[in-house]
């Protein structure tokens, strides 16, 4: 019975040496990296003089990209764990409205309104996850239901309490609050002021802001995006829990058999997605100073598209947070870049459809390569 040992060659002659190109291709981020380079190259050649790469221009597409990144990180981890959340967009509208109603209409302190909203949203996320686990239904259906439920509740709550669908005045009540600046504030303002004083970056030359830099600092939104990407990447690739996320999405039953708490992993990922949506909404509410019942429309799809462009498989078990972040950057840069390049903005959707299709085709090809299927 030991013949297998004796006859085993040092290396199997039937396995072809794989080129490093091939190895690079089976990394999930590859599509994202190539896409990002192409997109930047394209806009650098076509829209260089439009102000897209001035400090203000960079800030403009960075903010949009950061928004996409925040929801993409949540959607990415959830997709790798094998589930979807289509209620992200409605969750954004819901949590924004919740903060506005609690703080402006009911007069709660803003910090309490924010914390309550986070708890509420993560509760809804947990409910989503629990329903998916308990009923065994596809998360697609369960969260589609919540897409409507949350949107409807948001509009109902706004109309029934204030008879408006947009609630303003948040900036005034957030004045002096300790928690609000973590979402609506700016960091490194001193550095930017100094760079402006030194004449390195553009400053206002007229008006009441004379002498102040055009870009005052890095918005907290971008800090959140960065922190979430680092956290997500660390969690997925460097921890025990990350291995469980892959396992839960790769084959839930196989994972259960070796003792991975699949249900807990999935529910936690639904909660994390809700958390990300809530971060998005809070930052948006603080930036605009208002909440609208129609905020976040279609965001769930934009998050999923970013994740797919970033190399994650729709079927779960494979993907990368860095890839999803790059997907989100491609998204943000193209959306704003078309504006800078003076291209009709409706073409953005055409681009979106095309790139989604290409990404999915590439992903299918990659999966075949990893698993060696024909």
């Amino acid at each position: 019975m030991t013949q297998a040992e004796q006859t085993l060659p040092e290396s199997d002659e039937r396995i072809k040496e794989r080129s490093s190109f091939h190895k690079a291709l089976i990394r999930p981020e590859l599509g994202g990296v190539c896409g990002t380079i192409l997109v930047f190259l394209f806009f650098f050649l076509t829209a260089r003089d439009s102000g897209m790469f001035s400090p203000a221009g960079v800030l403009n597409w960075s903010i949009v990209s950061s928004q996409f990144i925040i929801i993409a990180v949540g959607a990415c981890l959830l997709m790798i764990a094998g589930e979807f959340d289509l209620s992200v967009g409605s969750m954004i509208g819901f949590s924004g409205m919740s903060i506005a109603l609690l703080s402006v209409t009911f007069g709660w302190p803003v910090w309490l309104a924010i914390i309550t909203t986070f708890i509420l949203c993560m509760g809804v996320g947990a409910l989503n996850g629990w329903l998916v686990i308990k009923t065994g239904l596809p998360s697609f259906i369960v969260t589609l239901a919540f897409l409507f439920i949350l949107r409807g509740l948001t509009i109902f709550a706004a109309i029934s309490t204030t008879s408006k669908t947009i609630i303003g005045g948040i900036r005034d009540v957030a004045e002096g609050d300790w928690l609000a600046p973590f979402f609506g504030g700016k960091v490194l303002t001193g550095v930017f002021q100094w760079m402006g004083d030194e004449g390195w970056i553009e400053v206002y030359t007229r008006g009441i802001k004379k002498g102040q830099p055009v870009v005052e600092g890095i918005p907290m939104l971008m800090v959140w995006a960065l922190v979430l990407v680092i956290f997500g990447h660390w969690l997925l690739t460097k921890t025990k829990f990350g291995n469980w996320i892959f396992a839960a999405g790769g084959d839930a039953q196989a994972a259960r058999y070796v003792g991975v708490p699949v249900n807990r992993v999935k529910i936690l990922m639904f909660m994390f997605t809700a958390f990300c949506a809530c971060v998005f909404a809070t930052a948006q509410v603080m930036e605009f100073g208002s909440a609208g019942a129609d905020r976040g429309l279609l965001k769930e799809f934009e998050a999923i598209i970013s994740v797919v462009i970033g190399g994650a498989l729709l079927t779960g078990g494979y993907g990368s947070v860095i890839g999803a972040a790059l997907g989100a950057i491609i998204f943000g840069v193209v959306q704003q870049g078309l504006f800078f390049a003076g291209v009709e903005s409706s073409l953005f959707r055409v681009f979106l459809g095309v790139i989604l299709l290409l990404a999915v085709i590439l992903n299918t090809y990659i999966r075949r390569m990893i698993t060696g299927e024909k």
Binding site: N243, G317, Y318
Partner: protein, 272 residues
């Protein structure tokens, strides 16, 4: 049904058995999947569990590995009565199960699969990290012991052959201290050479003092490695026989329910 061709004895269980299952019954609603199955496993033996489709083999091993709770019957693990609530309980007691299709996750690397559910961690600045370096080393070493040369531990399991996947799963179970290794039809989807490799692995594992429960409906595979043979039919144990006490033909007939197959076999010229 007529009398069995071979009378199997219900031998009194030796005391050193790692696990002893007595009169296990399992009912799913009105369906009686198991109606009194008994089996015990000694250290270092390969106990083959044979039976045709629907005989209750799968239900029985799922009871053994904590997936199902038995409706009636007793389980003794190392002499103590046991009551597994979850698969996790059975795993921590030392009962590892390798399922035919569900052993590995094809999209994940060999290392990630190997340590799935048992990830090694190291602390850096108070934060717990997955210890990839250690995990990769252990995986490479364990695979080499089992006679598989990996291109790299990052290689996805999907690139391995069916036999290699089974071997990785077995190596994993052994590495994590299994006392009982349950193999659910490990050879049923494999080619000749791969089957030989898996059977060789079973032999290697047995020599380490681990009790192997080998589920199959292929008598030849069972005869190749089995020390004892238990035949299940319609949710009941027909009995247990030791190696040398029973011929492959007798086993085959028992599995198929005696006389009926004998007639069938006659018309096929004894080729089944």
């Amino acid at each position: 049904m007529s009398e069995p061709l071979f009378e199997m004895k219900n031998v009194e269980t030796p005391d050193e058995a790692i696990i002893k299952m007595k009169g296990i019954e399992k009912h799913f609603g009105s369906v009686i999947a198991l109606s009194g199955v008994s089996l015990d496993v000694l250290p270092g033996e390969c106990h083959c569990l044979l039976g045709d489709n629907g005989a209750g083999k799968s239900t029985f091993i799922k009871t053994m590995s904590g997936v199902h709770k038995p409706s009636a019957g007793e389980i003794y693990f190392e002499g103590k009565p046991m009551n597994f609530q979850r698969p996790r309980d059975a795993i921590s007691a030392g009962i590892a199960t390798v399922y035919q299709d569900l052993a590995m996750i094809p999209l994940m690397s060999v290392t990630r699969n190997f340590f799935m559910g048992n990830e090694p961690t190291k602390k850096i600045a108070g934060i717990s990290f997955f210890d990839h370096e250690h995990a990769n080393e252990v995986t490479m070493a364990e695979m080499k012991k089992m006679g598989i040369n990996l291109r790299s531990p990052d290689q996805a399991v999907g690139t391995l052959s069916g036999g290699e996947r089974q071997t990785v799963a077995i190596a994993r179970a052994v590495h994590f201290g299994a006392k009982i290794l349950i193999l659910d039809e490990p050879t049923s989807a494999l080619g000749v050479r791969q089957t030989a490799n898996v059977l060789a692995t079973v032999d290697r594992v047995r020599k380490q003092g681990i009790g192997v429960v080998f589920i199959t409906h292929n008598v030849r595979h069972a005869m190749a490695v089995g020390d004892r043979f238990t035949v299940l039919d319609r949710g009941k144990t027909l009995g247990t026989a030791k190696r040398g006490e029973i011929t492959p033909e007798e086993l085959q007939d028992l599995m198929a329910g005696g006389q009926e197959l004998a007639t069938l076999e006659g018309s096929l010229g004894g080729t089944v």
